[in-house]
Symmetry: C2
Subunit: 615 residues, 2 copies
């Protein structure tokens, strides 16, 4: 099996521009903000033995939140260590607590160690291996970033303990994790340390899954955590979306590392199914009940669960798939998520986050019945303080997996820019950066111009992804026009020194959704390049009666919200004095101002729509 | 205040045709069927003292179910007494049980008398006055039909007891009924017996409502049973739909009887609001939570609660409004309900009934998640045996208010045909019938021709409603063409003997729904005259990707389901290989066969749609 490799983020220098600004905000505001909230909720005190202030209720996944935060900081430190000494100190402090908390036999879980009455490795849904996996990832990242191996030593000791219990002695109450994560973490440990044992452990968990009867939460079936059948026989993206994509990521790792064609075929089926269950923003997991996938084209907008972690995990899966097959669809999905669901999951000031990412907000839904008393609760059918659907981002959640996940992926966004093989470098995502032999300059997605300069470039070819949304482009190599993208890539033979420019046509367009998606029948979404746009009531007043006119050309308007333009079109407001009537509704022309989806919910609570009716 | 009167059904002889067939089915199949189910569930044994077979759980509203059944039989007996001696015997037996059950002080409620520990007139939601009201209506109807007054004596004794407790002594725990009904029943007692006390009682309940703090079910607000404000200040149709419409019916009675303009103004506001909350089938009450109204144009199709009793109660309200104001909209609503929600609420073979009346069935909703375990329960978010949304009619329900309500309104449908004042008879609904001086012949709604013959007709004018759906008609009076309907009525000066013909254009048309109804944006419903049509998967296969072509002329096809034609059009099937794309979806022409909505769900379980996408 041919494989590719990627240029890790730490071998790139991100240049000034859109993503550098996002990374700075992430490092200067979001990451410290998350630390503050985690500290206030005692996540770190829960680790440290003999902590003073008891939290009312610590959670089984606190260690994973903490570990992901460490991982995010590690990514910041890797290229900017001198600028963030305080963050490094905070990490060292937490790592110190983890090391002190670790049992002599290697077990490490702050929740279970605070509740010694609870049996370890007994109740599969209790996230023990999930927390372990994130500790492993943090350990590897921190070591690579700083050279400090204290957490790595802790991680390896814990991994050995898990090996002993799950593989040697098999004296646990379950064989595979409930929430997948440790598999991909173990592959990471393997690829960084070179130790075969971690590959063996990852493959044990992957190969065992679906071959033994396992427990899960009572209200869910075995589809919930993807253990109905052996993983190579999975053929639909089902169950909890984050669990699913962490599993598929590990499956893709295994396919690549072992040249496992059967595993890769399963991954392809799962990808092909997942894209039918993907929101236009790149979000996945439409069902709040279980944060799950449902069926193809079932994509409700207001109740879109579309968990931030889920979209990020879909990016992770797609990145791994690109290392096996340079298929433009994987990079297109990464881009769709990057510029929509990912960016939208954090506020423009970097302080607050979305857990669920709705594609429509209609506050009137809450008041459609004056008869039923408001009740808060999971799914909050009618609730005064709706967590769902979310109208505003929050600074912390009791289950706070999303913020540090957002932290870590933004800090390491460079991982997604290039893939390579022996002969070619593939520019997958358009971010200003510099790496050995290549400089990329672009103000994408504000503009569509990308300039690539090779200097002492060591390969024969250079290849640029032409996004599937792009209808036309103009490209030049060393001053001469080049054409002929094939399968979504424009590949040119290059000299050691070369200059290539691509100008992608960013004219805004309306897109439709597959007609089997009943929610979006007769509706259109406005997009400009990779960026999906939306209407907010902030700019447009009541959205209920609005219709777009597909013939109206969108005019770019300056916007204070972001560097991207707002888009102004002329649509309609529909009305009638009747409930039922023949003929057309009354139509009044109405100016509509669209803003990038990722900028919504930054000016207080406002109704919002991505999908707008045509009639 | 000018008022009108109506010709009661028992002063009409329904002629051969559509409604006579429905009435025969009702009397020969539905009414005996309901008796059988009621008997099997021990409703009658629960009344009779010393009954043998205890039901696991009798219900607080059993007496009302029984009373409505008696009322329905009374309507049948009134004009067909000789044909149904067995039904009369069954009624007499039940009435005997009621009489024997009645306490010496007049109280009568089989549920409370079986549970002597429960305090009477203590917990307002317990339906005591509701059951009383239905007993009163049954008593009056049976007396008018047969001359037998045994139940009327029982009713009057009970009414006196209620008077003593609620009005004289005021020693009950609540002042007004939870579920309205007794008010309109008391007005009926008043108008039949002439006894002022019953008017006084009705007006006490109506005037007191909303002026004192009253309890209702914990999960609902005071909007639920319309007691937030005095009734003359109500301005929106809110709360439980049946309660609401029974209240508004009594308010209309009071407005007419007392010439109460303020009360009538409130009724008008309530009507104007209710029609914005009315399904195209005439159903009302869109919210399963509380069987309630919500807000204007909130009309979900699959989860339409649209309780059969609610639509019937809306008919009752509109009939009363026509006695104050000959406004075509009231008669149009009656017609919309008659030919859609009402007819659809009983199966074509007369045996089974709908409680909720959905406007869309999509079985795949139940299987959209393989992850969440099926659970039955109220609202059955996901349930193996969905009561809701209902896919098939049932022969009995534990709360079985709908079947006998359907029984009684079909049996007395003649009440809706004519209204009159001193100078004019108004033909409101088109049913073949004969009454003093007038014969109407029509095969409506199969055809649009109506023929009216006057013979020794005693008034100066005859007026025919021209339904609001009707674009054009041709009319003749004594061979001469007449035109010029005014405000929905074609009124002509007539001789003692006259012949009038009206031919309403029944060309099928597509209707739209107000654009503020987000569920129906971009959708059309096909109607032919008053009859709404739908698509069933039975005839059309999978409905998900279907679109109508508004330009396609509907061809009438013979149908074995009913005397009405099926309608064949050419629509489209939409598809795409992508999830998101620019341009149009792929369109394939597809023949679509529409059937009358009221005939759906008579050929087993099948997906169904009333509102079809245009794109």
């Amino acid at each position: 099996m041919k494989t590719f490799y990627y240029i890790p983020f730490y071998d790139l220098s991100i240049g000034d521009g859109f993503w550098k600004d996002r990374q700075r905000l992430n490092a200067d505001v979001s990451i410290p903000g998350v630390y503050k909230r985690f500290n206030e909720t005692d996540r770190f005190n829960c680790i440290y033995p003999g902590w003073k202030k008891p939290t009312a209720h610590s959670h089984i996944f606190y260690d994973s939140d903490t570990a992901k935060w460490i991982e995010a900081v590690a990514y910041v430190l890797h290229r900017h260590r001198k600028e963030y000494p305080e963050l490094e100190k905070l990490c060292d402090d937490i790592i110190d607590r983890f090391a002190k908390r670790q049992q002599a036999n290697g077990y490490l879980n702050s929740y279970f160690q605070r509740h010694p009455g609870k049996k370890k490795f007994h109740f599969r849904p209790d996230h023990e291996l999930y927390c372990a996996g994130h500790i492993f990832e943090a350990a590897v990242a921190y070591y690579q970033a700083t050279g400090k191996n204290r957490l790595l030593v802790v991680a390896e000791k814990y991994a050995d303990h898990i090996y002993k219990r799950f593989i040697q002695k098999k004296n646990t109450s379950f064989s595979t994790p409930g929430h997948e994560e440790i598999e991909l973490a173990l592959f990471r440990m393997y690829e960084v340390t070179g130790k075969e044992r971690y590959k063996e452990m990852a493959e044990f968990f992957l190969n065992t899954r679906g071959t033994v009867k396992e427990k899960t939460y009572k209200m869910f079936t075995d589809a919930y955590d993807q253990h109905e059948v052996p993983v190579r026989r999975l053929d639909a993206a089902e169950g909890h979306a984050v669990r699913a994509m962490y599993l598929y990521s590990a499956m893709a790792d295994m396919a690549r590392i072992d040249g496992d064609e059967e595993m890769f075929a399963a991954c392809e089926r799962l990808f092909n199914d997942a894209v039918k269950k993907m929101y236009v923003t790149g979000g996945i997991g439409s069902d709040p009940r279980g944060e799950c996938f449902t069926v193809p084209y079932d994509l409700p907008n207001q109740t879109a669960y579309s968990e931030s972690c889920a979209a990020i995990s879909f990016m992770m899966f797609c990145r791994r798939m690109l290392l096996i097959s340079c298929d433009v669809r994987y990079a297109d999905v990464i881009e769709r998520i990057m510029y929509n669901n990912l960016l939208s999951s954090v506020s423009l000031d970097g302080k607050a986050f979305f857990y669920e990412n709705p594609l429509e907000i209609r506050q009137a839904e809450l008041t459609r019945s004056r008869t039923v008393k408001p009740r808060s609760g999971f799914m909050g059918l009618q609730s005064n303080l709706p967590r769902f659907p979310a109208w505003q981002r929050q600074e912390v959640f009791s289950c706070s997996c999303c913020p540090p996940n957002i932290n870590r992926v933004i800090a390491s966004i460079g991982d997604y820019v290039f893939t390579c093989d022996g002969e070619t470098t593939y520019l997958q995502q358009f971010i200003s950066c510099r790496t050995e032999g290549i400089t990329v300059e672009t103000n994408y997605p504000i503009g569509g111009k990308i300039s690539i300069k090779g200097k002492d470039y060591g390969k024969k070819y250079f290849s640029v992804r032409i996004p599937s949304w792009c209808r036309s482009f103009v490209a030049q190599l060393d001053g001469k026009k080049v054409t002929g993208a094939e399968n979504g890539y424009l590949t040119v033979a290059v000299e050691k020194d070369f200059t290539m420019t691509i100008d992608l046509d960013m004219t805004p367009k309306y897109v439709r959704c597959n007609p089997l998606c009943k929610e979006n029948r007769g509706k259109l979404a406005l997009v400009r390049g990779p960026v999906v746009y939306c209407l907010e009531a902030n700019d447009n007043g009541d959205l209920d009666a609005v219709a777009v006119n597909i013939k109206s050309v969108a005019k770019e308007k300056e916007s204070s919200l972001s560097p991207l333009p707002a888009l102004e079109t002329v649509g309609y407001e529909l009305s009638s004095s009747e409930t039922y009537y023949t003929g057309e509704s009354e139509k009044k022309e109405r100016t509509l101002l669209f803003i990038p989806y990722f900028t919504f919910a930054n000016r207080g609570v406002s109704d919002m729509k991505v999908w707008i009716n045509e009639n």
